[in-house]
Amino acid sequence: MINEREMHAAPLLSLRGIVKRFGSFTANDQISLDIHEGEAHALIGENGAGKSTLVKIIYGLLEPTEGVIAFHGQPVRLAGPEAARAQGVGMVFQHFSLFDNLTVAENIALVLPRKTPLSGLRDRIAEVADRYRMPLDPDREVWSLSAGERQRIEIARCLLQDPRLIILDEPTSVLTPQEAYALFETLDRLKDEGRALLYISHKLEEVRRLCETATILRLGRKVGSCDPRQESSRSLAALMVGSAICDIRSPATRDLGSERLTVSHLSLASEDIHGVDLDDVSLSVRCGEIFGIAGVAGNGQSEFFAALSGERLAQSHEAIRLDRLAVGKSDITERRKRGAAFVPEERNGHAAAGDFSLTGNFVLSRHATVGLISRGLIHFGKARALTAEVIATFDVRKAGEDPAARTLSGGNLQKFVVGREILSEPKILVINQPTWGVDAAAAATIRQALVDLAARGAAVLLISQDLDELFEICDRIAVMHEGRLSKAREARGVTREEIGLLMTGDGPEGSAHAH
């Protein structure tokens, strides 16, 4: 079918020799590809491979430095997203382009053509929601919705413009497995209607399920294209990374010792109006154990991290114990002195100060624990030596002797902030989303370091949205949903579907809470 069409009709969209430079950095280098009507085309590659830049060019948000964009064989210059929409391109953004304080209907009204009457909009939203089975309440304000619901708005908004080509940028990265499954059903229906999809992902199973063509990008260049259904996930991964990725080595058996981190009945009201209150959270992590907390972002994970690290103090001193010592009302430094270490989710601005040098950042988190300071003065020589050790051990790639933290790429900065804590040999490590937006090689390094740390007898608490990561390295997994933590389950004895159900709050405990 596709071959026949290729011979007769010009492709819906063709890119020829697209180059995009930001200063001296080339984000896209001579990329060409064709997308035909009704085709599901995957764009795969690691973080930083240039996928997002390329789709922003197609959607008119960025102007290519060189190259030609043609729709139905006609070269077009896209002055902005409106021009792209006029060509029939719709986009579902990775980080939702929604307005928190506006209602669902208002969010949708914004992208419709200027003359669209707002009065009949409600019915049209209902119609689209019904046709693609995506329940939507037009009068809710966006901030009160879950990630899955927000994505439905994005998709509905896109569909109301009746696009011929729909771009989806990492659509499942914030969804539970069940929500992702519902999304695929919607996408299948769109394909059946003859719409083309450009699907960006680094989750290869999804690509194999949905797409018949894949273009692979690496470091801004197109390194190949293939039919993903004919490839294995492993061969696709090798194409993406350019080399095979080693598996994580875990010790065959681990002796789990005494409890190192104990949280009992921790409840804490959030300070943020859009935040989540922690509700009676209890857990314990033992020596040598990696304990995983799964959950869709925004279900209390950041609040929980803040309570553990001491950024917010618990209501009772006994709610949090490190090696049996109550620390619920102790500050961050006090907890670090007891052998705990913390790596927050946001590396730039939270784990590290962007404009500080790496040495400066080292001092910021380790000042109290390695004798860097005497009589108020910093021993910079010692700090520099220890920083160099982190950089060497974790293979942190950087430009210059001691550059500002923000100049490092995401993966390298993450290796630095994780390495900084791990080299202090903490007895307890609490780490939030350690591999979010990090390339596969760096992610593997970080996971290996966590496994090795646990093998040396530390207790590791890993908060992550990435189920693959949790199943790969955790001993036990619990799910956080709306500020409550489920019972912990042995990672080997639980399926993804069970965890997924808990993530939506539909699990056995979810309903028990409701009654």
Binding site: G80, E82, S97, F99, N101, L102, A109, L110, R114, I273
Partner: protein, 307 residues
């Protein structure tokens, strides 16, 4: 107290509230688009000086009011060029605009100090304005008062019912998303800033054309700052501005009467009462559970389009 006297007091409350309503409704629109313009005081005093100058030279209150609007708009355009065009820090630019306006108005207004002209005439509708108790209060105000109310109604309608108003609110909520959807972020912000300047200029002109029909340097006396506070107090909702301005105006008038009655409290303390009342009201309102819920999320953040 006779009903006549009571009506007179209420009318002075309205008069005290009107410049605040005018300046605050303009700043509200500016802030809903995501621009924090701390230069309200500076735009207002320029409106006061040039409004008086225009009216004195031409002999027409309308031309004076227009001069005030133009003066405020030009000041806002300068602010817009700096903060929206060049993405300079809004807080610093706004403070500079206030200082600049206070100085420049003093310079331009030198020749007008001590001059006097008649205050803007008040509406008089035969029969209606003479009704007892409320007649003059409702039908006997000067035209600025009615203009202010119409402006609030128009703004409320614009923000909640029109597509352009929706685009403006979206721009203030999340400028990156607005840009990604193809909304003209910078143009929207610039126009909203100009509207804010025009309103502040009109508020200033009101002071010299109706409130106290003469010009003296620094005569806005912090009203621009009160207007800024009122926007927060009103949680960025138009009709609440009227409520807040009447409250502040009422406190101002009451303390004047209290000073006249001399309860034995120091006059300075009474003069400070309206400001204290505003602060207390702010504290009270901002301690609620959904505090700042209505605040435009992108308020004060400069926008630089990636291209």
């Amino acid at each position: 107290m006779t009903s006549e006297m009571f009506q007179l007091i209420l009318m002075t409350v309205v008069t005290a509230a009107t410049p605040l309503i005018l300046a605050a409704i303009g700043e509200l629109v500016t802030e809903r688009a995501g621009v924090l313009n701390l230069g309200v005081e500076g735009m207002m005093i320029m409106g006061a000086a040039l409004g008086f100058a225009g009216a004195y030279a031409s002999g027409s209150t309308t031309i004076g009011a227009l001069c005030g609007i133009v003066a405020g708009t030009l000041m806002a355009a300068l602010f817009g060029l700096l903060t929206i065009g060049l993405a300079i820090n809004q807080v610093a630019s706004g403070l500079a605009l206030t200082i600049f306006g206070l100085g420049l108005s003093g310079l331009l207004g030198t020749g007008f100090v001590g001059l006097k002209r008649d205050a803007a005439p008040q509406l008089h509708i035969q029969g209606l304005s003479d009704l007892p108790y409320m007649g003059e209060l409702v039908f006997g105000e000067d035209p600025f008062v009615y203009a202010a109310i119409l402006l609030v109604a128009g703004t409320a309608w614009f923000l909640s019912r029109t597509r352009a108003g929706l685009a403006l609110r979206a721009t203030g909520d999340n400028h990156q998303s607005a840009h990604a959807l193809g909304l003209p972020v910078r143009r929207t912000r610039f126009l909203a800033t100009l509207f804010g300047g025009a309103c502040a200029g009109l508020a200033g002109a009101y002071l010299t054309l109706a409130y106290t029909p003469f010009w003296s340097p620094g005569m806005t006396a912090g009203r621009g700052w009160i207007a800024l506070a009122l926007v927060v107090f009103a949680s960025w909702r138009p009709w609440r501005i009227v409520l807040g301005a009447l409250l502040f105006g009422g406190a101002t008038v009451l303390q004047l009467h209290a000073q006249a009655a001399s309860f034995g409290l120091p006059g300075q303390l009474l003069s400070a009462a309206p400001y204290l009342a505003t602060i207390v009201a702010l504290l009270f309102l901002s301690s609620g559970a959904r505090r700042n819920a209505a605040a435009p999320a992108a308020l004060g953040q400069p926008f630089i389009a990636p291209r």
